[in-house]
Amino acid sequence: MSSEPLLSLENLSAHYVSQQGSRVVRAVDEVTLSLSAGGTLGIVGESGSGKSTLALTILRLLPPAARIVSGRMMFEGENLLDKSDTEMRHVRGKRIAMILQDPMASLNPLFSIGNQVGEPVRVHEGASRANAWKRAVGLLKAVRIASPETRVTQFPHEMSGGMRQRIVGAIGISCEPRLLIADEPTTSLDLTIQAQYLNLLRDLQREHGLALIFITHNLGIVAKMCDQLAVMYAGRVVEQGPVSQIFSAPVHPYTKALLGSIPRMTDNRDHLTAIEGQPPDLASLPPGCAFAPRCAMAFARCRVEAPPEFAVDEGRTARCWLAAPDAEAKATMMRSSVA
């Protein structure tokens, strides 16, 4: 692992502000994350926890109502927040590529596959039509599409779902990006195709030295694909660290609950474990820890003061008072019980 991470987000916050400025939704709040070249980071959380907004923030493609209010985004030694719109456009697709939630609909029905796979090459590298076409054939081969020479001339409606998805993958890697963000790329696929696609992504990652950010709510995929994991709740990263460590010994009660809600064969069939309560309204978060109202282990302090990020282990943090260094935690518990 190199000392300099490929991407590091420092205290990044992106908020939606209503027109009157009265309501502020902290969609991404004080996120600090880093990803080394070639690494894989999984981001999990419930719907609305800010995963997708985080991805859009990295690409600086937030909707007009949202604003990046603070923080830094260092990518290959440059702060992406300092870049002009034009410069940013040349980062997108070329250095950071993204696969969207619904790759099935990601292809333009009116253009041939070759045309679309070659488009980023033409846009970013000014390649000629013929060269882009040749690249497209090579890329289809790279995503293991049989007889790519005929496939490039075909149109999206002539492809199966799994194939279209691989084509979207081919578009993603067409300019050899350093980082690929995959936003729930397999939710619309059936299980066998999912597995194939995940294998493909992993192979591509290995062959091209890609770093991968994998946004999902499927912890099984995280276990299979990722080496780092960040758990998001209400716009914040509540726990992060190496996947194996978090899976074997989760610290944050929310992570524990998430891991506990994966159904197992040995479980009682009449009962599915769920996390009680609803995710909070991001516009009116409780004053303390956002998870406190649903947390079985919450104590007085949790409801008044949001926990900072505590280092749990080497390269591992959690935003939970329970993770606070022992002495301090006990002291606080004492103090809060007195109060």
Partner: protein, 296 residues
């Protein structure tokens, strides 16, 4: 055991049905339009006489089947002895040229503004849509007459005027389409892939709104032709002695009371047939090309 290696399983292509066999295709209107187009193209060959030169000795001849008519002038002659058939044939050319090019001008302006307005949104959208609203508040024909009075009547001016008067409908419809298109996943992928706004509008949006633009164009063709005829009838359209159907009706209207019916009725029928055909064809296209209305 035979092992077949067919990695690519293509769906068996069904032979495409010829479009004129499709259900509900308005065959007769299509044939009428085709016939008018044919006549317009070959007017020089088809017309028995020069449409602009008549002989006063042969004025007000009735059509051949009426008493006093002759086979020399199948549809009679007008007040200066010009052959009505020849004038109708050349009039088809004027109507076709003016109608189609005016629709293209209107479509070009409207589609461009609609895409820009819908895709860019924000102040560009505000400006363009308020402009469209203002434009729509003006009565089309009066506005056209006003413009014609300023620039003076000529065929080219009529085309530009009609284009300027009728672009608003395109802008509105296309903008609506673009608003939904830009939420589509493939447009978002293009954004994520770093395409510029210009590239997205040109390559991803425009091809997807062409269908609607074509449907609108066929429907607008009728409106534009009627307006052209009205302008010509009012004397601010195609300048005489060029044979335009509207102009022919205007010239003939004084004769209507004294029985020279063919001078107004015949060009009127031509206008009606052409507009009706264009509308019927446009309606069919709209149903066929509009995904919401298409029966699968």
């Amino acid at each position: 055991m035979t092992v077949t290696t067919h990695p690519v399983v293509a769906t068996a292509p069904t032979p495409p049905t010829a479009f004129w066999r499709l259900q509900g295709f308005p065959l007769i209107p299509a044939l009428i339009l085709l016939f008018i187009a044919f006549v317009a193209v070959f007017a020089d060959v088809l017309a028995p006489y020069d449409p602009q030169i008549g002989s006063l000795a042969r004025r007000f001849r009735p059509p051949a089947w009426q008493e006093g008519g002759s086979l020399a002038h199948l549809l009679g002659t007008d007040h200066v002895g010009r052959d009505v058939l020849s004038r109708l044939i050349f009039g088809a050319r004027v109507s076709m040229i003016v109608g189609i090019t005016a629709v293209l001008v209107a479509g070009g302006i409207g589609t461009l503004l609609g895409i820009v307005s819908g895709y860019l949104g924000g102040w560009a959208d505000q400006v363009i849509m308020r402009l469209t609203d203002t434009w729509l508040a003006l009565p089309a024909l009066t506005f056209a007459i006003f413009l014609a009075a300023i620039v003076g009547p000529s065929e080219l001016n009529i085309i530009l005027i009609l284009g300027l008067v009728y672009w608003t409908r395109y802008a509105r419809v296309i903008r609506g389409e673009v608003l939904s298109l830009k939420q589509r996943e493939f447009v978002r992928l293009a954004i994520v892939a770093g395409c510029s706004k210009r590239v997205i509008m040109w390559r991803h949006i425009l091809p997807n709104v062409i269908n609607s633009a074509v449907v609108l164009a066929t429907l607008m063709l009728g409106v534009v032709i009627v307006t052209e005829a009205s302008l010509s009838f009012l004397g601010v359209g195609v300048p005489p002695p060029k044979p335009a159907w509207g102009l022919m009706m205007a010239d003939g209207k004084k004769g209507l009371m004294v029985g020279y019916w063919w001078l107004t009725v015949l060009p009127g029928i031509c206008i009606m047939l052409m507009v009706l055909s264009a509308n019927l064809l446009g309606d069919w296209l709209r149903v066929k090309l509009d995904p919401q209305l298409r029966q699968l």
